[in-house]
Symmetry: C2
């Protein structure tokens, strides 16, 4: 197709094409937690605000992930916005096999037993209102129940979010 | 609740709480386009990769937005990852009343008539496979049909994505 060829060399749809495009996308970093016989949690770069009234957010999760069995049953989840000072925490909650809630992770049970992580920029506890099938993933829709928008503030009280881009953590320039 | 009070002063769920928390979140910036009697497009900070096989992504749209009527009917949409050099383009596609496709916007019709913007880091054309209701918004699920992961590259050929945080555009530090 001439029109698109003029823009470069378009490729047909493959998992690799999607990955290549999203390597160039940058995203904020969050940790999702859920209560259970053992609490679970995982690092997510898919958290996004969806609607204001009622207040809804969403995130994605693989049905092959170690957290899925618990998130599939959870009535509530915790959503934590990480600061640029929390690369280690983000790495811990992305590492397979690790006991993610062992020291040095600092956390406590919050509303509805949801594990709340300390030192984050902001957190929300959400009621899970939908788990939308999307291939081998689910888009989890959460309605905000409670939260704290005023967590950790760095130098000059500024909120400095942790970012993820091209396979590594990063931060804002300005 | 003592456990959560110890973390600060939790607030009950309101649209303002969600906004306050997500002001601290940072996100990559994309422009979504759709073909129609007149093409439509809008700036989105909600684009996220969902699943690899089949390759799926999602984004949010308000049913009150000027683009919704067209996106509600579109079989295909374009998803463009913006670079840090494209703040003006991002502002144009977020401004109400503007003719977003007039000069200086540089674009051309791509596969399935989807408007493709020039100078972006990467683009994908997706088939719309679901529009999931979420309050007064819809989560649009798109399956990748075609794309170009190798668009504009800045200094040293590096991909430098545009970011949005605390109500303004930003860029990566490293």
């Amino acid at each position: 197709m001439t029109a698109s060829a003029a823009l470069g060399t378009p490729r047909s749809a493959t998992p690799d094409l999607l990955r290549s495009v999203f390597r160039q996308h940058a995203a904020g970093v969050a940790v999702i937690t859920a209560p259970g016989a053992r609490p679970v949690g995982f690092t997510a770069t898919s958290v996004t605000s969806v609607a204001a009234d009622p207040p809804l957010l969403s995130f994605g999760i693989s049905t092959g992930s170690s957290s899925w069995a618990t998130v599939a049953e959870a009535e509530h989840v915790g959503v934590h916005i990480l600061g640029e000072h929390q690369r280690e925490l983000a790495a811990t909650f992305a590492r397979s096999g690790a006991d993610r809630f062992a020291a040095p992770t600092s956390w406590r049970p919050g509303p509805y037993g949801v594990p709340l992580l300390d030192g984050v920029l902001a957190w929300l506890v959400c009621e899970v209102v939908a788990r939308v099938p999307a291939g081998d993933h689910r888009i989890v829709l959460g309605q905000v129940v409670e939260g704290d928008p005023e967590g950790y503030a760095g130098t000059a009280g500024r909120s400095r979010p942790l970012l993820y881009h091209e396979g590594r953590f990063n931060a804002l320039r300005d």
